[in-house]
Symmetry: C2
Subunit: 120 residues, 2 copies
DNA sequence: GCGTAAGGTATCTTTTTGGATACTAGGTTT
DNA sequence: AAACCTAGTATCCAAAAAGATACCTTACGC
């Protein structure tokens, strides 16, 4: 029963405030160094960037290439395996866009974008 | 740039430890009462179930029908709007299944299922 | 006149996530 | 010889999410 519901597995590799944007950067720009990612995502801390990259690496979503030199150089890129999930990400993105539109129709322009749905 | 990345919007309505399973239940069983959901998901607390249902309701994913009677009766069901996201959920689920398989090939049977990837 | 049923709320505590800040290594530049 | 560069760690702290527990309503059967 719960066996059939592996949506969570897909979610697992995407959750975390930064994973989607990191993937987006790497999908768009190809190979990027650690510092380039930092510049592209100004609000992320080194700690978060490192941990998110490590998790994505574990899941074989990104590849980490270390150049043994000083100062250090490390390049990150999307793996072949992860390339195959591009259509899924695209589908999720498309649905996201449509859903924002839908929320807009339901509640008006104001409540859109962030939060507002968390009636806690 | 970040405008193009609305994957997060899709994630937003799915995050929370329980939303996917709740949706799975309602997709599978059609209309369900609060207590039926509780029975189907034995480990969720009333508080969590309520809050997750409320968020899903806000996003027009589920519909809440209240019968004015005592003891109370409330029925939950997937909305027409949310029906349209079934293919997306299916795609995410399929990817999840394939990904578990992939992790298995990479790391062996033991490390599978939960956690293990969060090198924190 | 008491317990039960159903669908919740209200508080409080714990766990999980995320963030700020400081520090490291070792070659290169000033 | 001090300062800088990169790609990180280490430690500590704040915020958010999740969980435990107790309580509410009010018609009905006993």
């Amino acid at each position: 029963m719960a066996d059939n519901c592996k949506v969570e597995t897909a979610l697992e590799i995407l959750v975390g405030k930064w994973k989607p944007v990191i993937m987006y950067q790497l999908f768009s720009n190809g190979t990027m160094r650690f510092s380039e990612l930092q510049r592209a995502l100004p609000d992320i801390t080194k700690k978060m960037l490192t941990s998110q990259l490590r998790e994505l690496e574990y899941h074989d979503i990104i590849h980490r290439k270390i150049y043994m030199q000083i100062p250090p150089k490390v390049e990150y890129s999307i793996t072949e395996y992860a390339m195959k999930m591009a259509p899924l990400l695209q589908a999720m993105n498309d649905w996201g866009v449509a859903h924002l539109q839908h929320l807009n129709e339901l509640y008006g322009e104001d409540s859109g974008e962030e939060a507002a749905g968390t009636t806690k």
